[in-house]
Symmetry: C2
Subunit: 287 residues, 2 copies
């Protein structure tokens, strides 16, 4: 039988009710304050010296990184911190859920960092019209790149027309507004032929990138996925590796396999490894 309200619970409910009343009156627009950009870090990232064991400079590497926080429980404050890290490290984008597009855009304005929002994420099983609407809203709110998930179950059942039209409709929304569209194929749920078909359908629909993974599936990017996707799309499209890229070795391997972008929540750690003892002070690394 249901637990009865006891006095202690009743008191907590009263106290939370008051908190809700106060919370509804409070202004939340300025939780986060931008810090100063740290000049030393900027000069270290822009130093021409190559990363040990690589032909890339730190700045080359940072331009691959999409600094990513897509967890359900991510708070507005954490998103703002993520965005500010992206500015500090000169990452390509911040990759966030569309609810945070406006907030993210406000933090990265006046920097080279772009806002990337996910759509139909992570299951790819919302309606095409909803994905298109979600993309349109995100662009309106400040997104310059959209990562959509294709309808995986339809692809596996070879309902190619359905998959093509799903991608195509979102492409049209994006390209009408000078926005890049990446198609997440969720390679861990596909066999090789299905991954090839996903790439070809994305290419046919004129998407700009194919992307390996949502990070919420059973697996992340593998070298093999990235190499296969790169071979199929040739040089006509970008390839974004994502999911499970946790350190510098992973990052360089994915680039070696053909990735132009790396979606990762470990961007700061990767850059620390890349900069090596050049950043011992860790001035901006305390977020």
């Amino acid at each position: 039988m249901p637990v009865e309200l006891n006095n202690s619970l009743e008191q907590r409910i009263q106290s939370i009710r008051e908190e809700i009343r106060l919370g509804c009156e409070r202004e939340h627009s300025t939780l986060f304050e931008k810090h100063e950009v740290v000049p030393d870090l900027q000069s270290e990232i822009n130093d021409k010296q190559k990363i040990a064991g690589s032909s890339l400079s730190p700045r080359d590497l940072s331009s691959y990184i999409e600094h990513t926080l897509l967890k359900a429980e991510a708070s507005p404050l954490q998103i703002q911190e993520l965005c500010w890290q992206a500015v500090q490290f000169q990452f390509a984008t911040v990759c966030v859920n569309p609810r945070f597009a406006t907030l993210a855009a406000s933090v990265v304005e006046d920097s080279s960092v772009r806002v990337c929002c996910v759509v139909g994420f992570p299951l790819g099983a919302s309606n095409t019209a909803v994905k298109a609407y979600e993309a349109d809203r995100a662009i309106h709110d400040g997104a310059a790149e959209i990562d959509m998930v294709l309808p995986i179950g339809y692809l596996r059942e070879k309902q190619y027309q359905e998959v093509y039209l799903d991608i195509r409709q979102v492409v049209e929304v994006c390209h009408d507004q000078q926005t890049l569209l990446k198609v997440i194929v969720e390679a861990s749920e596909l066999n090789e032929d299905q991954t090839i078909a996903a790439c070809m359908l994305s290419m046919e629909a004129d998407a700009d990138f194919v992307k390996t993974s949502t990070g919420f599936g059973t697996g992340g990017a593998t070298r093999e996925d990235v190499a296969l996707m790169r071979a199929v799309v040739s040089e006509t499209m970008g390839v974004k590796a994502s999911g499970g890229i946790r350190n510098l070795t992973d990052a360089l391997e994915m680039i070696q396999a053909g990735a132009n972008r790396l979606g990762t929540s470990s961007g700061v750690h990767i850059m620390k490894q890349a900069l090596g003892d050049r950043v011992e002070r860790e001035v901006v690394l305390e977020y």
Copy 2:
């Protein structure tokens, strides 16, 4: 460096290209054929004899169950099979992603089974307007119940106005169209006070149910979550337990703790256990 196209890959691409061309021409509307309803199963479910160790009959239990398949890779064929199982076992609903609303509604028509669609799922981090639009589309496509995910990060940061308005806007879309609205609070990501606040905000926004979990978070429903949520919402709202309900014991425990609905992908297994040796033939259990 990127893998070059070799002959073998080039051949596979050609063959998949042809398959895509054929796939785009093929009609996919009738993959699934409804089977006969099995009369024996119907009479066994409707038998008044109680389940061993419970005051519920098999029919009582089946009316709690929301037969659920929300995986990204679920195919249209699997969704249709799920729906047909729900009809056979007289479950309360089938719970599917909105892309499948029309398909699900077509299978369960002429039965008591309702279609339930998830919205803003599973992260709760799409925009309120997108959740409202997604709900509206799902209802138009045949959903009679909507399970939405609240914006978890905002709740944790006590941005209660944001959470309230998010729920309220979807409630309005649903209630304008005689549709039930359940609010998924994702209790595994909340402490007790946050769970209480989520229930109170859902109650305040006039939602019909609170629901424990998406099944994609770090944990599923616990007895404690269900009992707490039941105590907070008293008898004014329903409580749906979901995530990790895998057998008859789990199911009966959740009902005991105060759940009115059980979201589970193990509905058939649970009913087999409930019917015990009454269903040895397993006529319809081979899906």
